[in-house]
Protein backbone atom coordinates (compact mmCIF):
# COMPACT_ATOMS: atom_id res chain seq x y z
CA UNK A 1 0.00 0.00 0.00
CA UNK A 2 1.01 3.47 -0.68
CA UNK A 3 1.81 5.64 2.27
CA UNK A 4 0.69 9.14 1.72
CA UNK A 5 -0.04 11.99 3.99
CA UNK A 6 -2.89 14.30 3.38
CA UNK A 7 -3.04 17.59 5.11
CA UNK A 8 -5.99 19.66 4.06
CA UNK A 9 -9.13 19.17 6.01
CA UNK A 10 -11.13 20.60 3.13
CA UNK A 11 -10.55 17.56 1.00
CA UNK A 12 -10.27 15.09 3.81
CA UNK A 13 -13.49 13.27 3.01
CA UNK A 14 -12.63 12.65 -0.60
CA UNK A 15 -9.03 12.01 0.22
CA UNK A 16 -9.96 9.31 2.68
CA UNK A 17 -11.95 7.52 0.01
CA UNK A 18 -9.12 7.91 -2.43
CA UNK A 19 -6.61 6.50 -0.03
CA UNK A 20 -8.70 3.46 0.73
CA UNK A 21 -9.17 2.80 -2.96
CA UNK A 22 -5.56 3.16 -3.92
CA UNK A 23 -4.57 -0.48 -3.85
CA UNK A 24 -2.87 -0.68 -7.20
CA UNK A 25 -1.42 2.76 -7.60
CA UNK A 26 1.13 3.05 -10.36
CA UNK A 27 3.11 5.92 -8.96
CA UNK A 28 5.39 6.55 -6.05
CA UNK A 29 5.51 3.75 -3.54
CA UNK A 30 7.81 4.20 -0.66
CA UNK A 31 8.42 1.06 1.24
CA UNK A 32 9.39 1.42 4.85
CA UNK A 33 9.09 5.21 4.90
CA UNK A 34 11.90 7.28 3.50
CA UNK A 35 13.44 4.27 1.77
CA UNK A 36 16.02 5.20 -0.80
CA UNK A 37 17.43 8.02 1.25
CA UNK A 38 21.15 8.00 1.74
CA UNK A 39 21.81 4.30 1.79
CA UNK A 40 22.22 4.09 -1.98
CA UNK A 41 20.31 0.83 -1.91
CA UNK A 42 17.42 1.94 -4.06
CA UNK A 43 16.41 5.00 -6.03
CA UNK A 44 13.15 6.53 -7.10
CA UNK A 45 13.67 8.09 -10.50
CA UNK A 46 11.15 10.27 -12.27
CA UNK A 47 10.83 9.81 -16.03
CA UNK A 48 8.27 10.42 -18.74
CA UNK A 49 6.07 7.40 -19.41
CA UNK A 50 4.64 8.54 -22.70
CA UNK A 51 7.57 9.74 -24.76
CA UNK A 52 8.89 6.99 -27.01
CA UNK A 53 12.65 7.18 -27.45
CA UNK A 54 13.13 9.15 -24.22
CA UNK A 55 11.02 7.73 -21.45
CA UNK A 56 8.34 5.23 -22.37
CA UNK A 57 6.39 2.66 -20.38
CA UNK A 58 6.61 -0.44 -22.54
CA UNK A 59 4.37 -2.29 -20.15
CA UNK A 60 6.34 -3.28 -17.10
CA UNK A 61 9.65 -2.14 -18.51
CA UNK A 62 10.91 1.25 -19.55
CA UNK A 63 12.84 2.37 -22.59
CA UNK A 64 14.39 5.51 -24.01
CA UNK A 65 17.44 7.72 -23.82
CA UNK A 66 16.49 9.32 -20.49
CA UNK A 67 15.98 5.83 -19.07
CA UNK A 68 19.34 4.60 -20.35
CA UNK A 69 21.19 7.58 -18.88
CA UNK A 70 19.31 7.13 -15.60
CA UNK A 71 20.25 3.44 -15.44
CA UNK A 72 23.90 4.24 -16.13
CA UNK A 73 23.98 6.96 -13.49
CA UNK A 74 22.23 4.73 -10.99
CA UNK A 75 24.75 1.97 -11.60
CA UNK A 76 27.56 4.45 -10.97
CA UNK A 77 25.83 5.41 -7.72
CA UNK A 78 25.82 1.76 -6.74
CA UNK A 79 22.18 1.04 -7.44
CA UNK A 80 21.39 -1.89 -9.69
CA UNK A 81 18.59 -1.79 -12.23
CA UNK A 82 16.14 -3.87 -10.22
CA UNK A 83 16.42 -1.48 -7.30
CA UNK A 84 15.29 1.49 -9.35
CA UNK A 85 11.71 2.47 -8.86
CA UNK A 86 10.42 4.36 -11.91
CA UNK A 87 7.94 7.12 -11.19
CA UNK A 88 5.96 8.99 -13.80
CA UNK A 89 7.01 12.65 -13.87
CA UNK A 90 4.73 14.63 -16.18
CA UNK A 91 6.06 18.10 -17.03
CA UNK A 92 3.57 19.85 -14.75
CA UNK A 93 4.53 17.78 -11.70
CA UNK A 94 8.31 17.74 -11.84
CA UNK A 95 9.00 20.53 -9.34
CA UNK A 96 6.38 19.21 -6.94
CA UNK A 97 7.69 15.67 -7.05
CA UNK A 98 11.15 16.92 -6.12
CA UNK A 99 9.96 19.39 -3.51
CA UNK A 100 7.94 16.67 -1.75
CA UNK A 101 10.87 14.25 -2.08
CA UNK A 102 8.70 11.71 -3.84
CA UNK A 103 11.51 11.07 -6.25
CA UNK A 104 15.26 11.19 -5.74
CA UNK A 105 16.03 12.46 -9.21
CA UNK A 106 14.31 13.27 -12.47
CA UNK A 107 15.41 12.45 -16.00
CA UNK A 108 12.50 13.75 -18.01
CA UNK A 109 13.51 16.15 -20.81
CA UNK A 110 14.01 18.61 -17.97
CA UNK A 111 15.58 21.83 -19.28
CA UNK A 112 17.87 23.72 -16.92
CA UNK A 113 16.53 27.25 -16.48
CA UNK A 114 17.24 29.98 -13.97
CA UNK A 115 13.63 30.05 -12.79
CA UNK A 116 13.67 26.34 -12.08
CA UNK A 117 17.02 26.62 -10.33
CA UNK A 118 15.27 28.67 -7.66
CA UNK A 119 13.21 25.64 -6.57
CA UNK A 120 15.27 22.61 -7.62
CA UNK A 121 18.91 21.66 -8.09
CA UNK A 122 20.26 20.35 -11.36
CA UNK A 123 23.10 18.01 -12.24
CA UNK A 124 24.26 17.74 -15.82
CA UNK A 125 23.33 18.70 -18.48
CA UNK A 126 23.56 15.28 -20.09
CA UNK A 127 22.17 16.40 -23.42
CA UNK A 128 21.61 19.66 -25.26
CA UNK A 129 18.47 19.50 -27.33
CA UNK A 130 17.06 22.18 -29.55
CA UNK A 131 13.70 22.96 -31.00
CA UNK A 132 13.44 21.41 -34.43
CA UNK A 133 10.94 20.22 -37.00
CA UNK A 134 9.80 16.74 -37.92
CA UNK A 135 8.66 16.48 -41.52
CA UNK A 136 7.73 13.73 -43.98
CA UNK A 137 10.81 12.12 -45.58
CA UNK A 138 10.13 13.70 -48.98
CA UNK A 139 9.45 17.18 -47.61
CA UNK A 140 11.60 20.12 -48.70
CA UNK A 141 11.10 22.09 -45.46
CA UNK A 142 14.49 22.86 -43.97
CA UNK A 143 13.64 25.31 -41.20
CA UNK A 144 10.93 27.46 -39.70
CA UNK A 145 11.29 30.04 -42.48
CA UNK A 146 9.87 27.47 -44.94
CA UNK A 147 6.71 27.14 -42.88
CA UNK A 148 4.90 30.19 -44.28
CA UNK A 149 1.48 29.00 -45.36
CA UNK A 150 2.14 25.51 -44.05
CA UNK A 151 0.38 23.55 -41.30
CA UNK A 152 2.33 23.06 -38.09
CA UNK A 153 1.28 20.79 -35.23
CA UNK A 154 2.32 20.78 -31.59
CA UNK A 155 0.87 19.80 -28.24
CA UNK A 156 -1.66 21.98 -26.46
CA UNK A 157 -0.09 24.80 -24.52
CA UNK A 158 3.33 24.40 -26.10
CA UNK A 159 5.15 27.73 -25.99
CA UNK A 160 7.70 26.65 -28.59
CA UNK A 161 5.08 26.31 -31.29
CA UNK A 162 3.57 29.65 -30.36
CA UNK A 163 6.97 31.28 -30.84
CA UNK A 164 7.14 30.08 -34.42
CA UNK A 165 3.59 31.29 -35.02
CA UNK A 166 4.46 34.73 -33.66
CA UNK A 167 7.53 34.97 -35.84
CA UNK A 168 5.96 33.62 -39.02
CA UNK A 169 2.32 34.73 -39.01
CA UNK A 170 1.59 32.71 -42.14
CA UNK A 171 2.01 29.46 -40.22
CA UNK A 172 -1.18 27.61 -39.41
CA UNK A 173 -0.83 26.13 -35.94
CA UNK A 174 -2.82 23.12 -34.70
CA UNK A 175 -2.69 22.10 -31.06
CA UNK A 176 -3.34 18.49 -30.08
CA UNK A 177 -3.34 16.66 -26.74
CA UNK A 178 -0.33 14.55 -27.73
CA UNK A 179 2.35 14.15 -30.38
CA UNK A 180 0.80 10.88 -31.54
CA UNK A 181 -2.11 12.86 -32.97
CA UNK A 182 0.28 15.22 -34.73
CA UNK A 183 2.25 12.36 -36.23
CA UNK A 184 -0.92 10.57 -37.35
CA UNK A 185 -2.15 13.73 -39.05
CA UNK A 186 1.21 14.21 -40.72
CA UNK A 187 1.13 10.61 -41.90
CA UNK A 188 -2.20 11.43 -43.55
CA UNK A 189 -0.68 14.45 -45.27
CA UNK A 190 -2.83 17.04 -43.49
CA UNK A 191 0.05 18.47 -41.45
CA UNK A 192 3.37 19.61 -42.91
CA UNK A 193 5.54 19.69 -39.80
CA UNK A 194 5.57 18.87 -36.09
CA UNK A 195 7.70 20.90 -33.72
CA UNK A 196 9.34 20.33 -30.34
CA UNK A 197 12.83 19.37 -29.10
CA UNK A 198 14.83 17.47 -31.72
CA UNK A 199 15.45 14.37 -29.62
CA UNK A 200 11.75 14.01 -28.80
CA UNK A 201 10.97 14.20 -32.51
CA UNK A 202 13.69 11.67 -33.22
CA UNK A 203 12.20 9.32 -30.64
CA UNK A 204 8.78 9.60 -32.29
CA UNK A 205 10.18 9.04 -35.77
CA UNK A 206 12.16 6.04 -34.55
CA UNK A 207 9.03 4.14 -33.55
CA UNK A 208 8.67 0.95 -35.54
CA UNK A 209 5.34 2.06 -36.94
CA UNK A 210 6.80 5.32 -38.24
CA UNK A 211 10.11 3.98 -39.48
CA UNK A 212 11.21 5.60 -42.73
CA UNK A 213 8.22 7.94 -42.91
CA UNK A 214 9.60 11.04 -41.24
CA UNK A 215 12.88 12.88 -40.79
CA UNK A 216 14.16 15.40 -38.28
CA UNK A 217 15.18 18.52 -40.18
CA UNK A 218 18.37 18.96 -38.14
CA UNK A 219 18.30 22.72 -38.01
CA UNK A 220 17.79 23.51 -34.34
CA UNK A 221 16.79 27.01 -33.39
CA UNK A 222 16.96 26.98 -29.59
CA UNK A 223 19.07 25.43 -26.85
CA UNK A 224 17.47 23.19 -24.24
CA UNK A 225 20.00 21.82 -21.79
CA UNK A 226 18.53 18.66 -20.27
CA UNK A 227 19.59 18.33 -16.66
CA UNK A 228 19.02 15.84 -13.88
CA UNK A 229 16.49 17.37 -11.51
CA UNK A 230 17.38 16.98 -7.82
CA UNK A 231 15.71 18.13 -4.62
CA UNK A 232 17.09 21.46 -3.41
CA UNK A 233 20.24 20.89 -1.36
CA UNK A 234 20.84 17.36 -2.63
CA UNK A 235 24.39 16.03 -2.18
CA UNK A 236 24.29 13.77 -5.23
CA UNK A 237 25.08 16.39 -7.88
CA UNK A 238 28.84 15.79 -7.98
CA UNK A 239 28.52 12.00 -8.23
CA UNK A 240 25.94 12.29 -10.98
CA UNK A 241 28.13 14.67 -12.94
CA UNK A 242 31.09 12.33 -12.82
CA UNK A 243 28.83 9.46 -13.87
CA UNK A 244 27.64 11.49 -16.86
CA UNK A 245 31.20 12.42 -17.79
CA UNK A 246 32.18 8.75 -17.57
CA UNK A 247 29.21 7.69 -19.69
CA UNK A 248 30.19 10.18 -22.38
CA UNK A 249 33.82 9.10 -22.17
CA UNK A 250 33.27 5.35 -22.57
CA UNK A 251 30.93 5.63 -25.55
CA UNK A 252 27.80 4.43 -23.75
CA UNK A 253 26.26 7.87 -24.10
CA UNK A 254 26.50 7.99 -27.87
CA UNK A 255 25.34 4.41 -28.14
CA UNK A 256 22.28 5.23 -26.07
CA UNK A 257 21.36 8.04 -28.45
CA UNK A 258 21.94 5.99 -31.56
CA UNK A 259 19.97 2.99 -30.36
CA UNK A 260 17.03 5.10 -29.25
CA UNK A 261 16.76 7.13 -32.44
CA UNK A 262 17.46 4.37 -34.93
CA UNK A 263 15.47 4.77 -38.12
CA UNK A 264 14.75 8.43 -37.49
CA UNK A 265 17.44 9.77 -39.83
CA UNK A 266 18.69 11.84 -36.90
CA UNK A 267 22.07 13.20 -35.89
CA UNK A 268 22.39 15.21 -32.72
CA UNK A 269 23.82 18.71 -32.77
CA UNK A 270 27.53 17.90 -32.53
CA UNK A 271 28.57 21.48 -31.74
CA UNK A 272 26.71 21.41 -28.45
CA UNK A 273 26.94 17.69 -27.69
CA UNK A 274 28.17 15.88 -25.76
CA UNK A 275 27.87 18.60 -23.14
CA UNK A 276 30.21 19.34 -20.30
CA UNK A 277 28.33 19.03 -16.96
CA UNK A 278 28.10 22.33 -15.13
CA UNK A 279 29.88 22.63 -11.80
CA UNK A 280 27.56 21.87 -8.89
CA UNK A 281 26.28 24.79 -6.85
Amino acid sequence: MRKTRYAAAAVAAVAALTLSACGGGDSAESEGGGGGEGGGESLRIGIKFDQPGLGYDEGGSYSGFDVDVAKYVAAELGVSEENIEWVEAPSANRENLLANEQVDMIFATYSITDTRKETVDFAGPYFVAGQDLLVPTDSDITGPEDLEGKNLCSVTGSTSAQKIKDQYPGVQLVEQPGYAECVTAMGGGQIDAVTTDDIILAGLAAQEANAGKFKVVGNTFSEERYGVGLPKGSDRCGDINSAITKMIGDGAWEEAITSNTEGADYTFNAELNPPEPEPCA
Binding site: T4, R5, Y6, A7, A8, A10, V11, A13, V14, A15, L17, T18, A21, G24, D26, S27, A28, F49, D50, P52, Y56, D57, E58, G59, G60, V87, E88, P90, A92, N93, N96, L97, N100, Q102, P177, G178, Y179, A180, E181, T184, G188, L204, Q207, E208, A209, N210
Partner: protein
Protein backbone atom coordinates in the same frame (compact mmCIF):
# COMPACT_ATOMS: atom_id res chain seq x y z
CA UNK B 1 -48.23 7.18 -27.13
CA UNK B 2 -46.43 4.02 -26.34
CA UNK B 3 -47.60 1.74 -29.13
CA UNK B 4 -45.68 3.03 -32.11
CA UNK B 5 -47.41 0.70 -34.51
CA UNK B 6 -50.51 2.89 -34.54
CA UNK B 7 -48.58 5.47 -36.54
CA UNK B 8 -49.20 3.31 -39.56
CA UNK B 9 -52.00 0.92 -40.46
CA UNK B 10 -51.59 -2.80 -40.37
CA UNK B 11 -49.89 -2.94 -43.76
CA UNK B 12 -51.78 -4.34 -46.72
CA UNK B 13 -50.11 -6.01 -49.71
CA UNK B 14 -48.97 -2.76 -51.30
CA UNK B 15 -47.72 -1.24 -48.05
CA UNK B 16 -45.95 -4.50 -47.27
CA UNK B 17 -44.24 -4.29 -50.61
CA UNK B 18 -43.27 -0.66 -50.01
CA UNK B 19 -41.90 -1.52 -46.57
CA UNK B 20 -39.94 -4.37 -48.07
CA UNK B 21 -38.49 -2.10 -50.74
CA UNK B 22 -37.71 0.57 -48.13
CA UNK B 23 -36.12 -2.06 -45.99
CA UNK B 24 -33.93 -3.34 -48.79
CA UNK B 25 -32.92 0.20 -49.74
CA UNK B 26 -32.17 0.95 -46.08
CA UNK B 27 -30.05 -2.16 -45.70
CA UNK B 28 -28.18 -1.40 -48.91
CA UNK B 29 -27.49 2.19 -47.93
CA UNK B 30 -26.39 1.07 -44.46
CA UNK B 31 -24.08 -1.57 -45.93
CA UNK B 32 -22.81 1.01 -48.40
CA UNK B 33 -21.85 3.41 -45.61
CA UNK B 34 -20.22 0.59 -43.67
CA UNK B 35 -18.30 -0.56 -46.75
CA UNK B 36 -17.15 3.00 -47.44
CA UNK B 37 -15.83 3.40 -43.89
CA UNK B 38 -14.09 0.03 -43.95
CA UNK B 39 -12.57 0.57 -47.38
CA UNK B 40 -11.30 4.04 -46.48
CA UNK B 41 -9.78 2.72 -43.27
CA UNK B 42 -8.22 -0.17 -45.17
CA UNK B 43 -6.91 2.13 -47.88
CA UNK B 44 -5.21 4.26 -45.26
CA UNK B 45 -3.64 1.24 -43.65
CA UNK B 46 -5.72 1.35 -40.47
CA UNK B 47 -6.87 -2.25 -40.88
CA UNK B 48 -3.44 -3.75 -41.37
CA UNK B 49 -2.74 -6.66 -39.08
CA UNK B 50 0.08 -4.80 -37.32
CA UNK B 51 -2.44 -2.19 -36.17
CA UNK B 52 -4.58 -4.77 -34.42
CA UNK B 53 -2.27 -7.60 -33.34
CA UNK B 54 -1.20 -5.68 -30.21
CA UNK B 55 -4.67 -6.33 -28.83
CA UNK B 56 -4.04 -10.06 -29.01
CA UNK B 57 -0.97 -9.79 -26.78
CA UNK B 58 -1.39 -10.27 -23.06
CA UNK B 59 1.11 -7.44 -22.49
CA UNK B 60 -1.31 -4.91 -23.95
CA UNK B 61 -4.08 -6.07 -21.67
CA UNK B 62 -1.92 -6.44 -18.59
CA UNK B 63 -0.08 -3.13 -18.82
CA UNK B 64 -2.37 -0.82 -20.76
CA UNK B 65 -6.03 -1.77 -21.05
CA UNK B 66 -6.63 -3.26 -17.60
CA UNK B 67 -4.70 -0.66 -15.56
CA UNK B 68 -6.48 2.08 -17.50
CA UNK B 69 -9.85 0.44 -16.99
CA UNK B 70 -9.14 -0.05 -13.29
CA UNK B 71 -8.34 3.65 -12.92
CA UNK B 72 -11.44 4.65 -14.87
CA UNK B 73 -13.63 2.39 -12.75
CA UNK B 74 -11.91 3.55 -9.56
CA UNK B 75 -12.58 7.21 -10.28
CA UNK B 76 -16.14 6.40 -11.35
CA UNK B 77 -16.84 4.20 -8.33
CA UNK B 78 -15.61 6.78 -5.82
CA UNK B 79 -17.50 9.52 -7.64
CA UNK B 80 -20.71 7.45 -7.67
CA UNK B 81 -20.59 7.00 -3.89
CA UNK B 82 -19.75 10.62 -3.17
CA UNK B 83 -22.28 11.92 -5.72
CA UNK B 84 -25.09 9.92 -4.14
CA UNK B 85 -24.12 11.25 -0.70
CA UNK B 86 -23.90 14.80 -2.02
CA UNK B 87 -27.21 14.37 -3.83
CA UNK B 88 -29.00 13.04 -0.74
CA UNK B 89 -27.72 15.86 1.45
CA UNK B 90 -28.54 18.65 -0.98
CA UNK B 91 -31.75 17.03 -2.23
CA UNK B 92 -33.06 16.84 1.32
CA UNK B 93 -31.69 20.37 1.84
CA UNK B 94 -33.84 21.64 -1.02
CA UNK B 95 -36.87 20.07 0.63
CA UNK B 96 -36.10 21.42 4.09
CA UNK B 97 -38.82 23.34 5.87
CA UNK B 98 -36.20 25.93 6.86
CA UNK B 99 -36.20 28.56 4.13
CA UNK B 100 -32.50 29.53 4.40
CA UNK B 101 -31.40 25.91 4.06
CA UNK B 102 -33.65 25.55 1.02
CA UNK B 103 -32.19 28.66 -0.59
CA UNK B 104 -28.57 27.78 0.04
CA UNK B 105 -29.06 24.25 -1.26
CA UNK B 106 -30.96 25.62 -4.24
CA UNK B 107 -28.29 28.13 -5.19
CA UNK B 108 -25.48 25.62 -4.81
CA UNK B 109 -27.29 23.00 -6.90
CA UNK B 110 -28.32 25.39 -9.67
CA UNK B 111 -24.82 26.88 -9.85
CA UNK B 112 -23.06 23.53 -10.01
CA UNK B 113 -25.44 22.21 -12.66
CA UNK B 114 -24.61 25.15 -14.91
CA UNK B 115 -20.81 24.89 -14.75
CA UNK B 116 -19.10 22.54 -17.23
CA UNK B 117 -17.51 19.52 -15.53
CA UNK B 118 -14.29 20.04 -17.46
CA UNK B 119 -13.98 23.57 -16.10
CA UNK B 120 -14.31 22.26 -12.54
CA UNK B 121 -11.82 19.48 -13.20
CA UNK B 122 -9.18 21.84 -14.55
CA UNK B 123 -9.78 24.24 -11.66
CA UNK B 124 -9.44 21.65 -8.90
CA UNK B 125 -6.48 20.03 -10.60
CA UNK B 126 -4.50 23.26 -10.84
CA UNK B 127 -5.68 24.64 -7.51
CA UNK B 128 -4.92 21.44 -5.57
CA UNK B 129 -1.65 20.92 -7.38
CA UNK B 130 -0.30 24.33 -6.49
CA UNK B 131 -1.74 24.53 -2.97
CA UNK B 132 0.28 21.59 -1.68
CA UNK B 133 -2.83 20.31 0.10
CA UNK B 134 -2.48 16.93 -1.58
CA UNK B 135 0.39 14.99 -3.06
CA UNK B 136 0.90 16.21 -6.62
CA UNK B 137 0.36 12.83 -8.21
CA UNK B 138 -2.94 12.40 -6.40
CA UNK B 139 -4.25 15.78 -7.58
CA UNK B 140 -5.65 14.47 -10.91
CA UNK B 141 -7.71 11.70 -9.30
CA UNK B 142 -9.01 13.96 -6.56
CA UNK B 143 -9.86 16.67 -9.06
CA UNK B 144 -11.72 14.17 -11.25
CA UNK B 145 -13.68 12.85 -8.27
CA UNK B 146 -14.55 16.28 -6.86
CA UNK B 147 -15.66 17.66 -10.23
CA UNK B 148 -17.78 14.59 -10.99
CA UNK B 149 -19.25 14.68 -7.48
CA UNK B 150 -20.21 18.33 -7.55
CA UNK B 151 -21.93 18.11 -10.92
CA UNK B 152 -23.55 14.69 -10.69
CA UNK B 153 -24.34 15.16 -7.02
CA UNK B 154 -26.34 18.25 -7.97
CA UNK B 155 -28.21 16.33 -10.62
CA UNK B 156 -28.95 13.56 -8.12
CA UNK B 157 -30.12 16.21 -5.65
CA UNK B 158 -32.66 17.28 -8.26
CA UNK B 159 -33.67 13.66 -8.78
CA UNK B 160 -34.24 13.27 -5.03
CA UNK B 161 -36.27 16.45 -4.93
CA UNK B 162 -38.46 15.60 -7.91
CA UNK B 163 -38.79 12.03 -6.66
CA UNK B 164 -40.09 13.18 -3.29
CA UNK B 165 -42.37 15.75 -4.89
CA UNK B 166 -43.77 13.06 -7.15
CA UNK B 167 -44.93 11.01 -4.17
CA UNK B 168 -48.61 11.07 -3.29
CA UNK B 169 -49.25 13.66 -0.58
CA UNK B 170 -50.86 10.99 1.57
CA UNK B 171 -47.42 9.59 2.35
CA UNK B 172 -46.35 12.70 4.20
CA UNK B 173 -49.76 13.15 5.77
CA UNK B 174 -49.66 9.58 7.03
CA UNK B 175 -46.23 10.23 8.48
CA UNK B 176 -47.48 13.33 10.28
CA UNK B 177 -50.52 11.42 11.47
CA UNK B 178 -48.39 8.88 13.32
CA UNK B 179 -46.59 11.72 15.04
CA UNK B 180 -43.44 12.12 12.97
CA UNK B 181 -42.00 15.58 12.46
CA UNK B 182 -41.68 16.91 8.92
CA UNK B 183 -37.98 16.00 8.88
CA UNK B 184 -38.54 12.53 10.24
CA UNK B 185 -41.23 11.87 7.70
CA UNK B 186 -38.92 13.09 4.94
CA UNK B 187 -36.06 10.89 6.08
CA UNK B 188 -37.83 7.69 6.92
CA UNK B 189 -40.88 7.71 4.65
CA UNK B 190 -40.51 9.94 1.63
CA UNK B 191 -36.84 9.78 0.62
CA UNK B 192 -36.63 5.96 0.75
CA UNK B 193 -39.64 5.66 -1.55
CA UNK B 194 -38.30 8.36 -3.85
CA UNK B 195 -34.98 6.53 -4.06
CA UNK B 196 -36.67 3.42 -5.40
CA UNK B 197 -38.64 5.43 -7.93
CA UNK B 198 -35.55 7.25 -9.10
CA UNK B 199 -33.35 4.16 -9.35
CA UNK B 200 -33.45 3.99 -13.18
CA UNK B 201 -32.62 7.69 -13.49
CA UNK B 202 -29.86 7.21 -10.93
CA UNK B 203 -28.30 4.41 -12.96
CA UNK B 204 -28.48 6.57 -16.09
CA UNK B 205 -26.54 9.14 -14.11
CA UNK B 206 -23.87 6.52 -13.36
CA UNK B 207 -23.40 6.20 -17.13
CA UNK B 208 -22.74 9.94 -17.21
CA UNK B 209 -20.18 9.64 -14.42
CA UNK B 210 -18.39 6.84 -16.22
CA UNK B 211 -18.33 8.75 -19.50
CA UNK B 212 -17.25 12.00 -17.87
CA UNK B 213 -14.40 10.27 -16.07
CA UNK B 214 -12.82 10.11 -19.52
CA UNK B 215 -12.31 13.86 -19.30
CA UNK B 216 -9.67 12.99 -16.73
CA UNK B 217 -7.06 12.41 -19.42
CA UNK B 218 -7.08 16.15 -20.12
CA UNK B 219 -5.79 16.74 -16.59
CA UNK B 220 -3.29 13.85 -16.79
CA UNK B 221 -5.31 11.34 -14.78
CA UNK B 222 -4.11 7.96 -16.09
CA UNK B 223 -7.51 6.54 -17.00
CA UNK B 224 -8.34 4.28 -19.91
CA UNK B 225 -8.01 6.92 -22.63
CA UNK B 226 -4.66 8.05 -21.32
CA UNK B 227 -3.32 4.50 -21.35
CA UNK B 228 -4.73 3.85 -24.80
CA UNK B 229 -3.04 6.98 -26.11
CA UNK B 230 0.22 5.82 -24.61
CA UNK B 231 -0.24 2.44 -26.29
CA UNK B 232 -1.13 4.19 -29.53
CA UNK B 233 2.06 6.28 -29.44
CA UNK B 234 4.28 3.26 -28.96
CA UNK B 235 2.56 0.97 -31.44
CA UNK B 236 1.69 3.66 -33.96
CA UNK B 237 -1.95 2.54 -33.84
CA UNK B 238 -3.72 5.34 -32.04
CA UNK B 239 -6.94 5.01 -34.06
CA UNK B 240 -7.39 1.28 -33.36
CA UNK B 241 -6.46 1.94 -29.70
CA UNK B 242 -9.13 4.59 -29.33
CA UNK B 243 -11.62 2.31 -31.11
CA UNK B 244 -10.98 -0.38 -28.52
CA UNK B 245 -11.40 2.20 -25.74
CA UNK B 246 -14.68 3.35 -27.28
CA UNK B 247 -15.89 -0.25 -27.55
CA UNK B 248 -15.13 -0.85 -23.86
CA UNK B 249 -17.05 2.26 -22.85
CA UNK B 250 -19.98 1.36 -25.11
CA UNK B 251 -20.24 -2.16 -23.70
CA UNK B 252 -20.18 -1.07 -20.05
CA UNK B 253 -22.51 1.88 -20.56
CA UNK B 254 -24.89 -0.12 -22.73
CA UNK B 255 -25.13 -2.73 -19.99
CA UNK B 256 -25.85 -0.03 -17.41
CA UNK B 257 -28.44 1.68 -19.66
CA UNK B 258 -30.17 -1.64 -20.30
CA UNK B 259 -30.25 -2.29 -16.57
CA UNK B 260 -31.82 1.15 -16.06
CA UNK B 261 -34.52 0.45 -18.67
CA UNK B 262 -35.30 -2.99 -17.21
CA UNK B 263 -35.53 -1.53 -13.73
CA UNK B 264 -37.84 1.25 -14.83
CA UNK B 265 -40.20 -1.33 -16.36
CA UNK B 266 -39.91 -3.50 -13.28
CA UNK B 267 -40.58 -0.60 -10.94
CA UNK B 268 -43.33 0.97 -13.00
CA UNK B 269 -46.01 -0.88 -11.04
CA UNK B 270 -44.74 0.65 -7.82
CA UNK B 271 -44.85 4.16 -9.18
CA UNK B 272 -48.10 3.83 -11.11
CA UNK B 273 -50.50 6.67 -10.61
CA UNK B 274 -47.88 9.18 -9.61
CA UNK B 275 -46.90 12.28 -11.45
CA UNK B 276 -44.12 11.51 -13.94
CA UNK B 277 -41.45 13.45 -12.15
CA UNK B 278 -38.08 12.44 -13.41
CA UNK B 279 -38.55 12.05 -17.15
CA UNK B 280 -37.05 15.39 -18.13
CA UNK B 281 -34.11 15.01 -15.84
CA UNK B 282 -33.04 11.74 -17.43
CA UNK B 283 -32.93 13.14 -20.94
CA UNK B 284 -30.99 16.15 -19.82
CA UNK B 285 -28.34 14.69 -17.77
CA UNK B 286 -27.49 11.70 -19.79
CA UNK B 287 -26.43 14.23 -22.42
CA UNK B 288 -23.67 15.61 -20.32
CA UNK B 289 -20.56 14.49 -22.07
Amino acid sequence: MSAQQVLFDAPGPRARRNILIGNIVGVLVGLGILAWIISTLAEKGQLEASMWTPFLESRTWEFFILPGLVNTLKAAAIAIVTSVLFGLIFGVGRLSHLAPVRWVAGIVVEFLRAVPVLLMMIFFWLALGSSGAVQPQDAPLIAVVIALTLYNGSVIAELVRSGVQGLPRGQREAGMAIGLTANQSLRSIEVPQALIAMLPALISQFVVILKDSALGFIITYPELLQYMRRLGVGEGNIIPSLMVAAAIFIIINFALSTLATRLSVLLSFRTKGRKPAVVGAIAMDAAST
